[in-house]
Subunit: 227 residues, 4 copies
């Protein structure tokens, strides 16, 4: 490893979940000083206090997770489950972003990288609330991205699917022949992405190399969606 | 006019606002029986009761409006304004859709047309909350669209911008030379779309002619965004 | 049927192939005067002469077909087959468009509708040359669309797949259980689109109702691709 | 610099033009062994011979340039200029790709990175032929990308615009106030991208870090187009 994040202070939310562990490991190896936070981010004040407490934040990794209620048809979704992905994925993205932007704008430099979902870009059945919330993240990133670009602050999103993850893809599932076959049918790459590959893309977006992207959502799904 | 909606019962929400008047006029001219509702749709039960009270609904026109807070930078957005577009645009879309789908699925036929926004597809500054909510509509439509397509129910969205509208574009603005010039610079068509053109596209999507679209967002913005 | 094309002169190319027959039938029923041409359009002069000979053309339907060489891996594609889709799909689109635009621009009104392919929007294996040529059509329509929009001329494209067609889907294939099952798996709508549905969308794009679209590619594929 | 391409043999075409110099400099600094070719690639055999002569090619950088004839309306484009961008941008992309894929498939590893254009993704007036050819590159990459992904070969494209380049943006233009102002109006980032930033993205796509992208076109244009 080299020093692509040397001297950078990076705040990673929900650092034990989702893409948190792979991110923290790689970013520290690249020289970053990582604030790995683990609390639930369920209201605006918690988000604001986290940012306030974190001091200088050169890079915010918005790593937010939510149940997707996959398998529940839209007609059967209960009202609580409808709201859950918005509360867990969209509200904290905004409150964290809003809290961290002033210091980035003042310094004329900053990066926000969002681990999002490819379900925002391609329709899948029985994930309506989750897909809507993931799409809200994309719309938010697009709008804020062009707004803060003149300040040399970049916010971009990784629209991922089929990435290794013990919760969605437990080892026993990964060994089933039928799962391996369906993966080859659904995903051009024929396999799951690794946490390292995902974090490596986040690293690229978090580093000084990526100053000319603005408010973009990048499919990261082995070709399952391309744009 | 012909009878492209003859025998269809159409529920139009917020019928006096946004694209409501143009829609009701054209749809009635095309033979539809229109339920033109005007109440605020600010909670789940109101949405459910509206659908229950409307009897057979062959076509739902989800015409939902919200302030967009244009001009407010994301760092200055207050918490109430953050939530407003989600409450006015996304929640009622879901509760109306969820309430109307069972009868459509049972009959094996139905159309839902959403008047959405092109800000879901192209980033604009100082409309972060609104853009996020409009993008949530797109993500919702994409996911629900593929879920209900096998039942011969189609849900699609018009992603519009630069459409005539007395609130956004009052007559005195329309006559300013600087506005006319900026329109020619921003919008390839060089003019605003008319309410009739917008309703004519909704008519196409509401009619039996459009059974092979599923969960799509169509830019309708004079070329300001193309995909 | 009504008179949505009353008084319009429409030129349909390769009128016996691909979407030609469905288009001619519907457009004539809607009051158009149709010039149904059937010659191969294999060079610039043939395209120019066809337009010159056709007199006033209010609407050009660019209905162009090509073998897609499906099943041939890119490494096995021979040089002639590489060039074929460009010669049959892209060159004549340009030469026809270039020849017909001056009269449309002069009148300040005109429509060009291109029957294109959804393979331009979503990658499929073993159709590399065809997909590239179909994407070239999309890029051409996007660029020309914004260029001619100020003249009130609209050029748009139907990005279709899974539409009924005796060559790609002969009756014996349509009756195979395995084909029906694969259709349900691949296409959210669970069926092929009909020629009528396809022509009905072309009718919408050819009529006076669609003046606020500019250079767009519309997926028409039962949800197989949504944007 | 680190060794992100250590041990890789990289073929860069037209190495003195367009993004060639920035690419060669960065890739060599990252440990690659670069074959920097400079001949015109104007027929299939030249492409094949170049690849044959280059030995092992782990990474192909398809750096192809063409005049764009910007300012020439589509009605004024002459037949030679229509064909030029296809001959210079699309044909050699195919012949190079076709020639290099067998060795990559045999090794079960390889990367092809295409320097393309954002004009493929967003319509611009008076660049019709160029935009069509750039879109053909995108369609080709999408199709070939899903075809070769199962072999662990990745082909992806950088859809760029507003990148520093002495031919398009000579120093005297860059110093004009009116140019600087128009840049701020057109491009959210408010500036041109640098050759280093462009090459840094190509480096990411050429390295072992990017194995889970397949046939994608990535906007690289300071937010001028986002998807």
């Amino acid at each position: 490893m080299s020093d692509r994040l040397l001297g950078k202070r990076v705040l990673v939310t929900q650092a034990s979940d989702y893409m948190g562990p792979a991110t923290v490991e790689l970013f520290e190896a690249e020289g970053a000083s990582v604030v790995a936070d683990n609390q639930p981010l369920d209201d605006a004040d918690t988000c604001r206090e986290l940012v306030a407490r974190s001091g200088r934040v050169d890079v915010l990794i918005a790593n937010l997770a939510s149940p997707n209620f996959s398998g529940t048809e839209v007609t059967a979704l209960d009202d609580t489950d409808w709201h859950t992905p918005f509360s867990l994925l969209v509200d904290p993205l905004h409150f964290l972003t809003q809290a961290v932007l002033p210091q980035m704008i003042e310094r004329g430099a900053g990066k926000i990288v969002v681990y999002g979902s490819a379900t925002a870009l391609r329709g899948l059945k029985t994930v309506s609330a989750y897909s809507a919330a993931r799409a809200a993240q994309v719309g938010y990133v697009q709008a804020v991205g062009v707004e803060v670009a003149p300040h040399n602050v970049q916010i971009n999103l990784i629209a991922q699917n089929y990435v290794e993850n013990r919760e969605y893809y437990p080892p026993e599932l990964m060994q089933k022949e039928s799962f391996v076959a369906s993966l080859k049918r659904q995903v051009p790459a024929g396999r799951l992405g690794t946490g390292f590959e995902d974090a490596a893309f986040a690293l690229f977006l978090a580093s000084d190399e990526s100053g000319f992207f603005a408010g973009q959502a990048f499919p990261f799904a082995g070709g399952w969606v391309q744009r």
